[in-house]
């Protein structure tokens, strides 16, 4: 759709003979390329629809949504507070560490290190950390803080880099790197850093909720139980609580109160069991290596890795890539279509309703969307793709809508559909494209958690390996997933550069979410 509209625009503007539509239009080339590639890959995506009779179950879900209900309010309050505590402490730690890493981000080794820690999904970090720290506060906090530190490092480095270098030249040459950053770059970058951290905090709240799925005492803990066991009123209540938490952020997240919140959060965190060095050592030295290696059988070990590569890793990695690419294109199309509902120039006073709708789309765990879609279209990759596209277009649509609010309006602006297609969309499209390319690796990580559909992505196998207590295989899969992430990230960066989309643009756009 995005490509179509762009093509339409391009065609209507001028169509002299022998005019090459694609020449000098890198965005169009990229959009067209992705679109065609996604179309070509569709046959491999396994999109069969099965007839089903979802009426009864969907009715129960709908009824649950409008009759939220809970049985133990203190427990809900505690879960809500712990969701915030995990997110808050994790963000504080990762901001500090991320800032430190951002200062030395020019070193290649640091960049690679950051790319690899953020390439592993929070859930997988939690599963790994759980082997060492058990189900404890440490596991939950680190599972969020580690990948987020990698993300912060990258984004902060980009923000700091963009600041004017002039003030720095005014300093004595002998001043240290840290003082230089602290006194010249940081003050300039401060508003952006604060805005980005705020945005990440919202993401951390969602991550913290999702960690409940594997046993940490956040909202997700109760949500997963209630939802899977068909207690839809309870599940809905928890989901509404999460929506309210995120929607109310601006009313309670004040910079001055954060130190106080952090102290309270530490106090609220669940107890952590003492870490036993012996188990940690056993995990590092023993559990994560194939049995044959421990027996000193080198050739068998090579064979094991080889067979894993052929039977599981390559097919799963390929399939993950295919699904994520199609989901990405679908997300782009959907985001282009839905952003107007939250855009002030387009939706006018009704934009706040659109905001609410997009907040729900981006805050509803994909698992829920996938389950509902599974009931409707039966088991295939289709529910997975739709769930990913809906969730991510909710997020991107929201960011794009915010950006559209800040566009200068012409006095003679047209209205309605014309305003959408000839004025606003063309202006924010580069931004949307940047966000999409930014989001690709995230979408790929998220294909992981759709195992209920029997969709055999890398994440499905990681989950299986942990369930079967095969940490050797789990580790191998996590490493491959991380490598794939790094590769996609690299490719997306090259594509952005080719399109002349500034790296920082995506960051900037996320930054507009301030206030």
């Amino acid at each position: 759709m995005a490509t179509d509209s762009r093509q339409a625009v391009a065609k209507s503007v001028s169509a002299p003979p022998r005019y090459n539509l694609l020449r000098g239009r890198p965005w169009l080339q990229v959009c067209g390329g992705f679109f065609l590639l996604a179309l070509a890959l569709l046959p491999f995506a396994d999109l069969k629809v099965y007839p089903s009779e979802p009426g009864q179950e969907l009715l129960r879900i709908a009824l649950g949504v409008i009759t939220p209900n809970w049985y133990d309010w203190p427990a809900l309050g505690q879960a809500l507070l712990q969701t915030v505590s995990f997110a808050l402490i994790a963000v504080v730690i990762s901001v500090v560490v991320g800032f430190g890493l951002a200062l030395i981000f020019h070193a290649r080794s640091v960049r690679v290190f950051c790319a690899s820690i953020r390439a592993v999904h929070e859930l997988f970090w939690a599963l790994i950390l759980m082997q060492v720290f058990g189900l404890s506060a440490t596991t939950g906090v680190l599972a969020i803080a580690i990948p987020y530190a990698g993300i912060f490092a990258k984004v902060f480095a980009e923000i700091l880099e963009q600041q004017a270098p002039l003030p720095q030249h005014a300093l004595a040459p002998s001043s240290s790197l840290l003082s230089r950053w602290l006194y010249t770059r940081l003050p300039q970058a401060w508003p952006q850093i604060v805005a980005y951290t705020r945005y990440r905090f919202e993401c951390a709240l969602r991550s913290s909720t999702i960690l409940g799925f594997i046993g940490l005492p956040t909202l997700g803990f109760y949500f997963e139980t209630a939802f899977k066991q068909g207690q839809y009123s309870q599940a809905a209540c928890l989901l509404w609580a999460l929506f309210a938490l995120i929607a109310s952020l601006r009313y309670w997240l004040h910079a001055k109160l954060i130190p106080l919140y952090v102290i309270i959060a530490f106090w609220l965190l669940p107890e952590s069991a003492p870490v036993n060095g012996q188990y940690f050592w056993q995990f590092i030295s023993h559990d994560i290596w194939p049995r044959t290696l421990q027996q000193g059988l080198l050739w068998e070990t090579v064979q094991w890795y080889g067979s894993q590569l052929w039977t599981t890793l390559l097919p799963a990695a390929g399939y993950t890539l295919v699904l994520s690419l199609i989901a990405l294109v679908l997300t782009g199309i959907l985001a282009t279509l839905i952003y107007p509902i939250a855009s002030r120039p387009l939706a006018g006073r009704g934009a706040f309703i659109g905001h609410g709708a997009l907040l729900m789309l981006r805050s509803t765990p994909e698992m829920v969307l996938a389950f509902v879609l599974l009931l409707v279209c039966g088991p295939s990759a289709l529910p997975a793709l739709l769930a990913l596209a809906i969730h991510n277009s909710g997020l991107i649509g929201y960011l794009v809508a915010r950006a559209s609010d800040e566009l200068p309006q012409r006095i003679d602006a047209c209205r309605g559909f014309n305003l959408y297609s000839y004025q606003i969309t063309p202006q924010i499209f580069p931004y949307l494209l940047t966000l999409l390319l930014y989001r690709w690796e995230v979408i790929m990580r998220e294909t992981a958690i759709l195992g209920i559909l029997g969709v055999t992505t890398l994440g499905f196998y990681v989950d299986s390996a942990f369930a079967e207590i095969r940490y050797d295989k789990a580790l191998l899969l996590v490493v491959v997933a991380a490598l794939l992430n790094i590769a996609v990230d690299f490719f997306a960066r090259q594509t952005r550069r080719y399109c002349g989309l500034s790296e920082s643009r995506a960051v900037f756009s996320e930054l507009k979410l301030k206030r």
Partner: protein
């Protein structure tokens, strides 16, 4: 480099603060019931209170979400006692040498799995394994479940001579017995495997529409859930602790406590009772 060291120190302090809230050594257990996981903490805190009274040591319950998490907690000595499924118990006892199964539910001596099918699957109930399910869409429960994964997969392989992935058009893992029923009832999956107790409960509660989904086959009996205790319990909690614990479990007669599991009562069990489960798991390569 000085700044880096400062940052590392800061990070270390945070981690330290987190781990300082360590608990005193108490007797800790965990349990995942096979149905109705709501009010987990409330229900099992009462079981903890009962055990505390019977054993004379502080007893604590911690909730977990998955068998894998329960096994990890057991191996890392975060819990000393756990209510495991058949397969997870075997895995846990392999991970912790000398640990032992000490009691099982009355119903767990002769547990079974129901194969259920949506009416559109056109498979009739039978006493023989329904080979007509080949080529349909099929969902297991959770990946590490005995009744929702291990036993059904074993009988599928034995009777269809193929792995589930080969035998069925599509294989899913619903993650939960209730979810399996919901997905087969809606026709999202045509056939599924479900814990028989969960099916009976949901049927009695009117959550199952018999005109849409029915039981087409039941597996032969096998042993399932059991209490497994770490082998070093007697050294840590005093001589005779294991025996005392077993007696406390076997003498748990209060219906409201037993309802948490939910079981009629507990009977004695030993590791050998689960030899068949272990062999089955090895046969289908679920255990290394």
């Amino acid at each position: 480099m000085k700044q880096l060291r400062l940052l590392t120190a800061l990070a270390a302090i945070f981690t330290l603060l987190l781990s300082l809230q360590a608990t005193a050594a108490t007797f800790t257990f965990t349990a995942i019931p096979d149905e109705d996981e709501s009010r987990l903490v409330e229900r099992f805190n009462r079981v903890a209170a009962y055990l505390e009274f019977e054993l004379g040591v502080p007893v604590k319950y911690i909730p977990v979400k998955s068998y894998a998490a329960a096994i990890t907690a057991f191996r890392n000595n975060q819990v000393q006692l756990a209510w495991f499924g058949g397969l997870s118990g075997v895995q846990a006892r392999l991970a912790v040498p000398n640990s032992q199964a000490i009691a099982q539910g009355y119903e767990d001596q002769f547990f079974k799995t129901y194969f259920i099918a949506h009416k559109n699957a056109n498979v009739e109930p039978s006493t023989e394994f329904p080979k007509a399910i080949a080529g349909k869409t099929f969902t297991f429960g959770s990946k590490g479940s005995t009744s929702g994964r291990l036993m059904p997969e074993f009988y599928i392989r034995e009777n269809l001579k193929q792995s589930p992935q080969e035998a069925f058009e599509r294989v899913g893992f619903s993650g939960d017995h209730s979810a399996t029923i919901a997905q087969v009832q809606s026709g999202a999956y045509q056939v599924g495997a479900v814990n028989y107790l969960v099916w009976e409960t949901e049927l009695a509660a009117g959550k199952v529409d018999p005109s849409k989904v029915k039981v087409i086959w039941e597996t032969p009996n096998y042993p399932d859930y059991q209490w497994t205790l770490r082998g070093d319990a007697d050294q840590v909690y005093g001589k005779g602790f294991t025996k005392k614990l077993r007696n406390a479990l076997l003498n748990m007669k209060d219906k409201s406590l037993l309802k948490a599991f939910p079981r009629k009562s507990f009977v004695a069990a030993k590791n050998d009772d689960y030899k068949a489960i272990e062999d089955t798991a090895r046969a289908i390569d679920l255990l290394q």
